[in-house]
Amino acid sequence: MAATVSSASGLLAMLNEHHPLLKLHALSNLNAFVDHFWPEISTSVPVIESLYEDEEFDQRQLAALLVSKVFYYLGELNDSLSYALGAGPLFDVSEDSDYVHTLLAKAVDEYTVLKPKESSQESEKVDPRLEAIVERLLDKCILDGKYQQAMGIAVECHRLDKIEEAIIKSDNVHTTLSYCINISHAFVNPREYRREVLQLLVKIYQKLPSPDYLSICQCLMFLDEPEGVAKILEKLLRSENKDDALLAFQIAFDLVENERQAFLLNVRDLLSDPKPRPSDVPSGQDSSTGNAAPADVDMTVEAPAAVGNVLDPSEMTYSERLTRVRGILSGETSIQLTLQFLYSHNRSDLLILKTIKQSVEMRNSVCHSATIYANAIMHAGTTVDTFLRENLDWLSRATNWAKFSATAGLGVIHRGHLQQGRSLMAPYLPQSGATSGGSPYSEGGALYALGLIHANHGEGIKQFLRDSLRSTTTEVIQHGACLGLGLAALGTADEEIYDEVKNVLYSDSAVAGEAAGISMGLLMVGSASEKASEMLAYAHDTQHEKIIRGLALGIALTVYGREEQADTLIEQMTRDQDPILRYGGMYALALAYRGTSNNKAIRQLLHFAVSDVSDDVRRTAVLALGFVLYSEPEQTPRIVSLLSESYNPHVRYGAALAVGISCAGTGLSEAISLLEPLTSDVVDFVRQGALISMAMVMVQTSEASDSRVGTFRRQLEKIILDKHEDTMSKMGAILASGILDAGGRNVTIKLLSKTKHDKVTAVVGLAVFTQFWYWYPLIYFISLAFSPTAFIGLNYDLKVPKFDFLSLAKPSLFEYPRPTTPPAATSTVKLPTAVLSTSAKAKARAKKEAEKAAIAEKMSAEETSSGAASSGKGKTVAEKEGESMQVDSASEKKPEPEPTFEILTNPARVVPAQEKYIRFLEDSRYTPVKLAQSGFVLLKDLRPSEPEVLSLTDTPSSMVSPAAGGSATAAQQSQASSMVVDEEPQPPQPFECSL
């Protein structure tokens, strides 16, 4: 029939007949031939529609189906869908045709749009028929075993019940759950809804027979429910099984990695004390310890010395474990271990600094301070201040604010040196007896330094900083104290401190006010408290641009991570007349939507980047993109690539920093390609930004994995040595060399923890760091973003046992950069030290390699016995190497094929790119509790009877005391601290006088 009929007009005419039978005939025929004659039928759609609306016509649904099909052909999918729903059972969802497929897809789209609205507002109910279709689809998905698809759609539709069903019915609940956590972090947008999803996940987790406590605690942390975490930890600690305790420690370490100080403190305080305990140690002690004891916080204070003999054995073990967990939660254990690691593995190259120092002109104070900054960054957290001590005369040229930052630099170098921090800084601190000889600049700097040392772990130092703040009226000291307080009490939302800082702010002094503004923000990070409006009001009142800027940044910090909740405030700030407040608005956008890749935020930022009248705002808008996008670093170069070619140098600068921030530590090839041309930009400050960003991107990337790293290092050297180079770019180059070799070449910049959560301190640190455009001392905030590239395995006693594991990659791919060789004509003065260090290093290396070779041999022997022939090459190479070592350890430069693997010994440097190559040996004595390739990992001892060999034993750890049976005494402590002093370099006393 189709072939013979060339027009549907006859059938269409029949529709106008009166007899329903004729109409019915016409309809059914039209329905059959609709794909041939839809253009003709489309003109008669109103007639068919009226048939559908005719209550008396008994084949209304057929009419609806026909209309739906015609609309489908016309591309009007909305109408088509609504009529298809009207067609009821005639619309056969199981039919295999394009029409049905398209409409089903449309139905899901429609539903995902409608459903979330329904729950939030009073808008009309979703069509139940639509819901039925989508539910059928979801059920089919689940039945077919396509759980991920089902979950994705369910998450998007806000159907928690379906998510639960999909997870529970899936064959591997754990993988499905972790998949769900991933998508809820990456794609679930409104924060409130994400909380709901996570709550659901926690619920499901808890129902499982073997709950994954690590994941649960991560979720609970996001939900900010310290009670839940505390309950789990306690349960694990009380368990008979030692493994559970290990797991508890691991959980604690993972929580610490996200750096939410207030949350961690809450968990710590919520852990209940051993039961039959006399009331001698109140649980609120922690917060008061700091106030009472003049010494720095020490977890050993917590040790229940007096309790020992009263408790039964199970409570004994509990209290012992509790002490350890509390130590971890307070961050001290990890900080201490990091400090030890950074100190023992320090590989910073003093020659680079020397070259910089020599090439920098004497009178150029910008470059002079830049060198000091670079030194501090290079040695961040290593406690190595050799360079400063060797160059006291040179250092004494720093005056005024330069002196402030020189002193503060010590804080960066000694970052995390919680026990000794104060005694180290003592010579520079303001003396309590009022008029001391010290300059206010060094005193202020010292307070700032204390803040840096105790950043985010300021329990013990808070009180001292408050006292200093209260007792001074000098604005420079106030400046330092405010910054220090902000850092130490980061995110604690402490009202008292806030009020004190506010008093400083209201004194309306430009210098102190700026720091106060930032400090208030730091205190209130992520609290979204009412204080923001108070700060905004004052920003409108004051005349000082500096104060407005400080406040603007502070306000931005308060909305950290608040996403939609921050929208009102952001709106208020971005519409302000004052460009400085709009500038703060950009930061607010950046921080509220940090790492969410939220489209709305990106759109807004791009809009400001091209349309604002103020260069500052535009620069910041582009820069803020880096913060919004750091969870997807691959995207950033693409998004800012056009902006990086803008005519406006400020926008180009912003683009450079955006890439630097979001791709920090990734060594991403596209990012480097984008930054490369910018490093030779026509405008000096763009070059500066590009150099710094490049260093941030390339940190911990070896030349073997990207040859451009070497080129960049040479470029930096060239710029520094070039007499004609602008000061701005020279400063950029100096800072870049600092960042490139940061923390003794053992740290990277990481804004995400291993569980893909944001690291608050790191993000805040980078945000304040970018303020160095206005205020150089803020450069030091970058040290907050550093995290060690280390694998540190810990045993039950939280000590570092000797433990080997494998890196299945060529060693050269991730090795340290070669130390620079001094030019032949160097003066002989420096020679002895250089010789000493290299020989020492060579010796150490020889020893290490010999060990390594032995292990390699052992391992490969095992492997060959187990039938793995692939490692044959590695074995021979290792052996050969071992032999050559024995023959002549000095002349090791033989052209040998490189081994394809490397054996690392706990604690080891594992750079992020290396993580995927890390393997644990199968028959090792220890196995990790959690399969993590870096960071702190608890190790399960499979042969507990054998004696343990500890690494890092040379370090003075005060955690000896709890291990000794909870009988730490003051004497022991002081002994420990004296050990520290012995072991680590003395504070650079001499140059204190010269300042």
Binding site: S6, S7, D35, H36, P39, L74, G75, S680
Partner: protein, 488 residues
């Protein structure tokens, strides 16, 4: 309706020597490589180029070459290979041996790219059509279309659109166009769903052609107006679309729009597509005549079209003179040409225009003339010529064709004085439309330009140059400052 671009140059039997065989094969292999890289890099541009290169090769295609290429591009045992080879005619043994030898030397790389498979279909189809083996072509194209439906890749789209075209062409040649209408509609739907705009364009044209072939103007117009719109991708397809559109509009009495489309189609068509342009011109001439315009003589004198346009030239002459008798004679003389061009029914419509033109001539020449004279001049040979003339004149006045009044009492027509056209807005409008046309042309040309990517990045100023420039700027600034000082 042989307006197709390539069809005009149907391959003459190639007389190339056997030495051409390897070179053609080599070319085909290069094309295959081009398609491959295009498919991997998802660059549609390369596939387009491959198709273009194939068209230049089509004269040289021989069964042996094609089968050798099939052996190279497709896995020997595959279904597609077996099927395609079966369409090719067997040639003499000698040639085959050469081919097998050459294919053996090839490393047996077996590609599984769907693009290549589709390309092979296309190649065989072109070959079959050139050999006038339309029934085989029909079978081949049908299988290829069936295969295409299962593929959803953007790089295939270009090849697919060519296949659609040859599919329809092979059916047209055997006169079975009606058969595939449903298929084309379904394909068009699929192309719409997959956002394959090139395919939509091609298929819409094929459908229009299909409808028009059976004079289903009404359906064609309905489909055209209901189908989704988008920006044109292929110039050729757009030309065709405009041509069909012009035809539909002509039939539906929308002459102004029809003229515009037809002229645009004629202008946009590539110079090589002479047949198509002749067709466009024929229709355009008639539409212009229907509009009461007289096309310029140059239209008929265009290179290569002179002969084809002779009937229309004479027709125009008749209309220009306004001589009904002459018109009738011409229409009779060329009746067969007109009916084969499908313009006969339009020429019937023209009679009215002839009368009108005559009337206008009269009105220009005479300031006052009796209706009887009008009837005589127009050679109205009805029963009451004066009354007829009166009504014709009245209608012409109402339509605005002539500017005159009728004096009913005296039975004559009074023409009004024609004013000076240059005192009106007329020249300005004409000028404006020409400028608009030029600007539009320029804009489109600019839009069509392709710039090499990232060429602007190469010119980075080196550090030395920058320093030099800054120094110069500083000197200049100093200089200016000094000059300022001097003034005081």
């Amino acid at each position: 309706m042989t307006q197709d671009v390539e069809m005009k140059e149907v391959a003459a039997p190639s007389n190339s020597t056997s030495s051409a065989v390897p070179s053609t094969l080599q070319h085909l292999k290069e094309i295959a490589a081009l398609i491959e890289t295009g498919a991997y890099a998802r660059e549609v541009r390369r596939v387009v180029r491959a198709v273009r290169l194939t068209i230049t090769l089509r004269r040289k295609l021989k069964a042996s070459v094609v089968s050798a290429f099939l052996g190279y591009a497709l896995a020997a045992g595959s279904e597609a290979h077996a099927r395609l080879v079966s369409y090719l005619p067997r040639e003499d043994e000698h040639d085959m041996e050469v081919d097998t030898a050459s294919s053996v030397t090839q490393p047996p790389v077996k590609h599984s790219l769907p693009e290549l498979e589709i390309y092979c279909y296309l190649l065989v189809l072109i070959f079959l059509i050139d050999q006038k083996k339309f029934s085989e072509a029909k079978a081949c194209s049908s299988t290829s279309i069936a295969r295409l439906r299962t593929l959803n890749r953007r790089t295939v789209d270009v090849l697919a659109s060519r296949l659609y075209f040859y599919y329809s062409y092979s059916y047209e040649m055997t006169g079975d166009l009606a058969e595939i209408r449903g298929n084309l509609l379904a394909l068009h739907r699929i192309a719409t769903l997959r956002h394959d705009e090139l395919g939509q364009e091609t298929l819409l044209n094929l459908l229009l052609r299909n409808y028009l072939h059976y004079n289903l103007y009404d359906q064609a117009e309905k489909l055209r107006s209901k189908a989704p719109r988008f920006e044109a991708h292929s110039n050729q397809q757009f030309c065709r679309y405009l041509f069909y559109l012009g035809k539909i509009r002509t039939i539906q009495l929308e002459y102004t729009d029809a003229k515009e489309s037809l002229l645009q189609a004629a202008r946009k068509a590539p110079a090589a597509a002479r047949g198509f342009r002749v067709q466009c011109n024929k229709w355009a001439i008639i539409v212009r005549l229907l509009l009461g315009e007289i096309p310029e003589r140059t239209v008929f004198m265009q290179k290569g079209m002179k002969k084809a346009l002779v009937p229309y030239f004479e027709l125009t002459n008749a209309v220009r003179v306004g001589d009904l008798e002459l018109f009738r004679v011409v229409a009779e003389k060329f009746a067969s040409t007109f009916s084969s061009d499908g313009t006969h029914n339009l020429i019937v419509r023209l009679r009215h225009n002839v009368i009108r033109t005559g009337l206008r001539n009269i009105s220009i020449s005479y300031s006052r003339i009796s209706l009887a004279d009008v009837a005589q001049k127009l050679r109205l040979d009805s029963e009451n010529p004066v009354a007829d003339a009166e009504s014709i004149v009245a209608k012409a006045i109402r339509d605005g064709a002539i500017d005159a009044t009728i004096d009913h009492a005296n039975g004559w027509m009074v023409s009004k004085e024609t004013g000076d056209v240059y005192s009106t807005n007329e020249p300005q409008f004409a000028f404006n439309s020409r400028i608009a046309f030029c600007l539009n042309m320029h804009n489109e040309a600019v839009r069509a330009l392709r710039f090499p990517p990232n060429s602007h990045k190469k010119e980075k100023e080196s550090a030395e140059k920058r320093r030099e420039r800054q120094q110069q700027e500083q000197e200049l600034a100093k200089h200016i400052a000094e000059e300022d000082d001097d003034e005081f």
